[in-house]
């Protein structure tokens, strides 16, 4: 087919252009397929995720109701707290176990370290953590014991300023 020199050249040029466009098409198709896959995944996630986002926002209210109950010991308020927890329960929201457990940064956020008998035990819970299935909505905010001396702690405070 390629008879004369000029023809060869222009064919080479066309081939190159052809390749460029084909690349472009492949890339676009790949992007499109990826997008489809991701939309499917996100659609599955979305329901759960949007619930998790809303729950995360209202958790501080539950925290405060519980703290209030601790102080007031009011039977009516007790019911309100229970009602709140029942709803969370029905949505599959589970409280993260913390007190007395070994500190696990996947589930807990350390807000303070204090001297103790053993390393990495959770001595107190400042705010409860919650998860929905395996997804942590909010890590539990905890105080963790450390066997080491308090020297380091003071340094960590500085950093935390």
């Amino acid at each position: 087919m390629k008879i004369n020199k000029a023809g060869t050249q222009s064919n080479v040029k066309v081939d190159k252009r052809h390749q460029e466009l084909e690349n472009q098409l492949r890339r676009t198709l790949a992007d499109y397929q990826n997008l489809e896959r991701r939309i499917e995944e996100e659609r599955k996630l979305l329901g759960k995720l949007s619930a998790a986002l809303l729950i995360e926002k209202i958790l501080p209210v539950l925290d405060n109701l519980e703290t209030a109950q601790k102080h007031l010991q009011d039977p009516g308020l007790e019911l309100v707290v229970k009602q709140f927890k029942d709803i969370l329960d029905s949505e599959g929201v589970v409280e993260i176990e913390a007190e007395g457990q070994t500190f696990d940064p996947n589930l807990h956020e350390a807000i303070e370290a204090e001297a103790g008998e053993v390393d990495n035990k959770i001595s107190r819970v400042a705010a409860k953590g919650y998860k929905i299935e395996d997804k942590v909505i909010r890590p539990a905010k905890v105080v963790v014991t450390k066997k080491e001396n308090l020297n380091e702690q003071s340094k960590s405070n500085e950093k935390d300023k």
């Binding site: 405060n64 102080h71 350390a110």
Partner: protein, 636 residues
């Protein structure tokens, strides 16, 4: 061809983005966040949010801000200064370079950063569903060769080929597409979590050159938070006569509330800070409750904002440019969301800064754009257009029926089946319309043609398929085809997207302004069409039913038909509605009585109406019910 990801490897946080289908997109982490804290525990091999959560328990093994040590000598005064407050051990390693020592093992800053990059790589692979091997990484403009080299090594340790190391301000400029603009001198104001940088760039032949850079390595959002916390503690003290600063849990809650208030005040003028049961003394529980206004916040942190303008003035002096000579200003970093910062920057340069992109993500976006340029993905971008206005045809009663709605990406095509409006109508006129208004007369007619030769049939029976095909150049092909006879007619309209921006703006605005009255007008027409259609249907039912229709039902229906007919074309609309409903219920009696005798049914045909001059009727679902049974008509 594998993607090149763009990484903003930050002092406190890192962000990763990629270009897909010509658009940069931030990739979220496995935890579902767009930002990954640059925090690493090299012993337990944990990175990001999880590592950050154990920082207080393991201050000596949780490494953060390692970027401050990257490619620096141990003796470097910066390193000496930072060592004083970093809780982990920094020492001199090979060739006197600063390294961190964790549990007796030395790690270079490269190795630590590589763990952050490794997580980024894994997250990007999970997102893209393919291997990621190449990256563009950003560094501060002031990074020297050694620091750049170290950053590149970090990428390589993580298994990434670093295609290019680019400056953070340059990435920000790329993200805004300023390489293609006429801007000559650009200032980038970057106020992040812990550092402030300001740079002046000059653009020549599509390449950015950093003319000068300046900043403050210890000024950022954290300082703003600290100021607000201080203020809240003072307020609490005044109110309650007790100092909460010894109570770490209380302080943690105040810090969280301070950051939340700061963020809220970027969009609202006033916010309520309330922390119930913050602490307690013998007298009982103490709550923190305080109103913070934006102007109060501005007075608390005002001095910090002012502090940034020292470096800004210096950078201009070094670059030998006047503030007024800067063509474009870009805002980077989460703190630039604060209205006071925007305002002060604007006042200083006398120009509106660029802030439309997310300031936390703009650097990573620019890096991704650079990556796409390197793969050639950006070289020949097929720019896909969208139709700025809706395209449709005129249907019964002068209604504009859309086929291709506005903002649809072209090329695209769409077809719908329409029918006739009158018995034995043999032609339909297709009037191609452009615009957002519901009534045809208010939109722009792009062209019209007539399809004739439709075999005579009762209204609603013929099927006319109208197909719109809009190609990438904005050329619109409209074809109308009668399915029974196979007759076809078409028109080619070339100027369909050739509207000026002003025209599009005007038409869109008009549509918004007239939305309510247009809707009413359309409703009215639809009501009249429905009445008309019902009359037709009722007359047909009487005719078809003949003797089988009981006399009293017949006279009732006839009477109702007559009274509706009188007002249907122009009478008061409410009355038309009522009478239509009345006729409809009387009509159903025909069906009932006929059922008793025989059992044929007459489906509702509400949208059909007599239309003398051959206009088309919108009815796309007709195909399903069309040739089911003799005498059956289109269902709406």
């Amino acid at each position: 061809m594998s993607k090149v990801i763009g990484i903003d490897l930050g002092t406190t946080n890192s962000v990763v983005a990629v270009v897909e289908a010509g658009k940069p997109k931030v990739i979220h982490s496995a935890e579902g966040r767009n930002i990954i804290p640059s925090v690493v525990d090299p012993i337990k091999h944990i990175v990001g949010d999880v590592a950050k959560r154990q920082m207080i328990v393991n201050p000596r093994t949780t490494i953060f801000s390692v970027k401050r040590l990257m490619g620096r000598k141990y003796k470097d005064p910066e390193v000496q200064r930072d060592m004083k407050w970093l809780p982990y051990e920094v020492k001199a390693g090979r060739e006197g370079m600063a390294v961190v020592n964790v549990d007796g093992k030395d790690y270079t800053p490269q190795e630590i950063s590589a763990m952050v990059l490794g997580k980024i790589k894994a997250d990007a692979e999970a997102y893209l569903g393919e291997k990621v091997e190449k990256a563009v990484i950003t560094v501060p403009a002031y990074f020297d060769d050694s620091q750049r080299q170290a950053t590149k090594q970090a990428g390589e340790i993580a298994g990434l080929t670093v295609e290019r190391i680019i400056n953070e301000p340059t990435a920000a400029a790329l993200a805004y597409g300023l390489d293609k603009s006429h801007a000559h001198t650009i200032a980038v104001y970057d106020l992040g979590g812990g550092t402030f940088d300001v740079s002046v760039l000059e653009l020549g032949d599509g390449v950015f050159e950093v003319k000068a850079t300046n900043g403050d390595t210890h000024l950022g959002g954290d300082d703003f938070d600290a100021h607000i916390v201080e203020y809240l503690v003072e307020e609490f003290k005044k109110e309650n006569n007790m100092d909460p600063s010894g109570d770490k849990q209380a302080m943690q809650r105040i810090r969280d509330a301070a950051e939340k208030a700061k963020i809220e005040l970027s969009t609202t003028a006033e916010t309520e800070i309330s922390i119930p049961y913050l602490t307690a003394d013998s007298a009982g529980p103490k709550h923190l409750q305080s109103k913070l206004t934006r102007s109060k916040l501005e007075s608390i942190v005002g001095e910090l904002v002012e502090k940034t303008f020292g470096p800004v003035k210096d950078v201009l002096k070094d670059a030998k440019v006047d503030a007024k000579a800067i063509d474009e200003i870009i805002l980077v970093g989460g703190m630039t969301r604060m209205p006071l910062v925007v305002e002060r920057v604007k006042a200083f340069f006398g120009k509106e800064p660029n802030k439309s992109l997310n300031p936390d993500e703009v650097v990573a976006i620019g890096a991704a754009v650079q990556g796409a340029v390197l793969t050639g993905e950006m070289k020949e971008m097929v720019l896909l257009d969208v139709t700025p206005l809706t395209l449709g045809i005129e249907t019964l009663g002068g209604v504009s029926t859309p086929l291709i709605t506005r903002n649809t990406t072209v090329p695209t095509s769409k077809s719908e089946t329409f029918s006739t409006a009158a018995d034995n109508q043999t032609s339909v006129e297709i009037n191609v319309l452009q615009g957002e208004r519901p009534m045809a007369a208010d939109n722009k007619s792009l062209g019209r043609f007539i399809l004739d030769g439709i075999p005579p049939a009762p209204r609603g029976i013929p099927q006319v398929e109208v197909k719109f095909d809009l190609d990438a150049n904005g050329i619109l092909n409209v074809t109308a085809k009668d399915k029974a006879s196979g007759k076809e007619q078409s028109i080619k309209i070339t100027g369909s997207t050739g509207l000026t921006d002003e025209e599009i703006k005007r038409m869109t605005k008009e549509a918004e302004e007239h939305a309510k009255e247009d809707e009413e007008k359309k409703d009215e027409i639809e009501t009249r069409n429905k009445a008309d259609s019902l009359i037709y249907q009722a007359e047909k039912a009487l005719k078809d039913g003949g003797d089988k229709v009981p006399a009293e039902v017949k006279s009732d229906v006839e009477e109702k038909i007559k009274s509706l007919k009188d007002i249907a074309p122009a009478g008061p609309i409410e009355e038309v509605k009522t009478k239509t409903d009345q006729l409809s219920s009387s009509l159903s009696k025909i069906g009932e009585s006929m059922y008793k005798q025989e059992g044929t049914s007459e489906p509702d045909n509400s949208k059909n109406a007599a239309q003398p001059d051959g206009e088309t009727k919108s009815d796309d679902k007709k195909t399903e019910s069309a040739d089911v049974e003799e005498g059956e008509v289109v269902k709406e």
